[in-house]
């Protein structure tokens, strides 16, 4: 079912938005003249559980939706740092919460929107987390810690309070991992 790329060019850049335009040939010979792709580095996020068994969720305001969303820590991997995805996840955990993980496990990877962007979200569970510093946020991050019990996280998920699709997927993967391995 794969498409052949006949031409590919950079179309637009502003900040972290890099948009590419591809001309493609479909397997049946149709030519798609313009397919737009937003080129992002891979992303990471982490479901952090403290030594006391609390989950470190966040409440974060997102200007695109104009709403506060319940999320887990995470962000973009940084190609300039030459870091692994796991290192990026630990860095984001420390920056956004001030916590370090005793153990970190990858629980899956998923595509935030493969119709529009090619990158993946790499999802981790961090266990035995302990506070070692104050959060050190990016200049325009606007978030607060929202610690919950595992039962509260499950309740928020079932009630639809967690309504950010990428977070729903990562949190579901994390809860499945914990159910199968730690309960």
């Amino acid at each position: 079912m794969h498409w052949k790329v006949l031409e590919s060019k950079a179309l637009f850049k502003a900040g972290y938005l890099h948009i590419r335009e591809d001309k493609c040939e479909l397997p049946d010979g149709r030519i798609m003249p313009r397919y737009y792709v937003i080129e992002f580095p891979d992303w990471v996020n982490v479901f952090p559980v403290t030594r006391e068994g609390e989950v470190l969720l966040l409440k974060q305001y997102r200007q695109a939706s104009g709403k506060v969303h319940i999320e887990v820590p995470g962000g973009s991997s940084d190609p300039h740092r030459h870091e692994s995805m796991q290192e990026a996840a630990l860095r984001e955990l420390l920056e956004e919460t001030g916590y370090e993980a005793g153990e970190i496990v990858k629980v899956g990877a998923h595509y935030p929107n493969p119709a529009l962007q090619g990158n993946q979200m790499h999802s981790y569970v961090a266990l035995d987390c302990k506070k070692v510093a104050e959060p050190n946020l990016d200049p325009y991050e606007d978030l607060e810690l929202y610690p919950c019990s595992l039962q509260q996280v499950e309740g928020h998920l079932l009630a639809g309070d967690i309504d950010h699709s990428i977070m729903v997927t990562s949190i579901t993967m994390a809860l499945n991992y914990l159910k199968n391995n730690h309960k």
Copy 2:
């Protein structure tokens, strides 16, 4: 936690990509000079169950990821049609599968990526679906029907074979609804 928009301007348009740039004031007075928002209409998708109890999943090639993904039917609502979200879901179901629903139920809504785009995905379950036509695809859609049992859908979800974040969220909502209402 809400931000105040000081200025907002259209920045770039190509096809369905409309990018806006906002200048914002955070609650603590910080000024964020440029926040990029991709303006999409709301999206819809539908988890269709036939009279025979089969789920009509799709396999669809997505050029941005260069991969085939397991999905459910859906697409964008069309502001020019003045259709409700439910009407858009039924239209996409008919276009992509050739099936009509005997009953349709909204199971939730979620934000595909509220850091980047403000729109929501409205998720439905369609019951008692029957075939009334052949699929009538958009010019460059490239997909095939992939009928599964409910147990196969659950298996694909747990195994990570369904790796499109938005689909994972919609399918999880649909399965929760069916568990609570129809099993």
